[in-house]
Point group: C2
Chain length 202, copies 2
């Protein structure tokens, strides 16, 4: 499957990182339920029992992958908006960060949008809270801009969802060797976000 | 899982329809690989061997679900644009149709975006062709509008993808009993499509 670009290709990983990377690829390719710890062990080239020196369980791998994903997205938003006080530029840069994350982390996007039901209740609550936090960051930014008269929207919530979903969606079709570079996508989607938030003819 | 609203609740289904409906729910909840024909039989309340009077295989169920989904989306587009010659209205109505489909067929959206890799090569080619056809319908409409000066876009392809992905995305969070009705969503996303395609300040 084409989302499964391995992080291992990028350089030397520690054993724990290699396990997480192999699990991420398998979860993206086959789904969490259909992946066994034996599959993960085989992909890393170790025997299954020795996996447990590095990780507690298959569920723990999933939880860690999904927490890291959401934490990186949230950090990316804060870093992007901190670079300017201009609301329009903040929305553009936050969208660009969102897009860049999804072009670079297609496996995480795939697993994140699919495996919520595979999480145990406690972990699911944590992830759903982080997802809510992330979407609220966009929503509040649009809401503030609307109150200042910079943005003109009927529903900051729906505009936030539209921006997030169009970014998440590209993880399914973007190819690093395709007709569009990450840079072009970030610029285009940054413009899309501003078109969605600012009054034009519609 | 909340996408698994059963079509069976809507009325009396034939046995074949009930099997397809149960399979759709299970594929959406657990994924194709983790679902067995025994699971499907149990959900319909029959013994596994009798399933095969109605359906050839689990793969055949998946193929049929995904073909029907794409055919309905493509028909929905044609029906929507046939109602007017105005490009702006065509894009609005095609987007509304796309959104309505995804609020009503959340299980199909979930399975469709996730299970492409589970299809056998022949079926996968058919589905990928239909997906390409569907996205080309939006792209060509935007392209024609751009050539006529109605739309102002850098890339009709990316605008088409953004519109499609924001509609597909809502299948993951829309709830019939949530704060937004299907009608409000269709109207809002129709406006979003026009904002993406028409020149405003950005």
């Amino acid at each position: 499957m084409s989302v499964s670009t391995s992080g291992a290709a990028a350089g030397q990983l520690t054993r724990a990182e290699a396990i997480r990377d192999a699990a991420l690829t398998l979860f993206a390719e086959r789904g969490f339920r259909a992946t066994t710890m034996n599959d993960v062990a085989r992909a890393v080239g170790v025997r299954a029992p020795s996996l447990y020196n590095h990780v507690r369980s298959k569920h723990e791998l999933l939880r860690e992958i999904m927490v890291t994903t959401m934490d990186e997205l949230i950090q990316g938003f804060h870093a992007a908006v901190a670079t300017t006080c201009d609301r329009v530029e903040q929305l553009r840069r936050a969208t660009e960060a969102h897009v860049r994350y999804h072009t670079r982390h297609r496996r995480e996007a795939f697993v994140g949008s699919r495996e919520i039901p595979s999480l145990k209740p406690g972990a699911r609550r944590v992830i759903l809270d982080k997802r809510r936090e992330y979407s609220m960051l966009f929503r509040d930014l649009i809401d503030r801009g609307a109150k200042e008269g910079v943005f003109v929207v009927r529903s900051p919530r729906l505009v936030a969802y539209a921006i997030l979903d169009m970014g998440i969606g590209l993880a399914a079709w973007f190819r690093p060797d395709g007709p569009c570079t990450e840079e072009e996508l970030a610029q285009s989607y940054g413009q899309f976000a501003l078109r969605l938030a600012c009054r034009g003819p519609f």
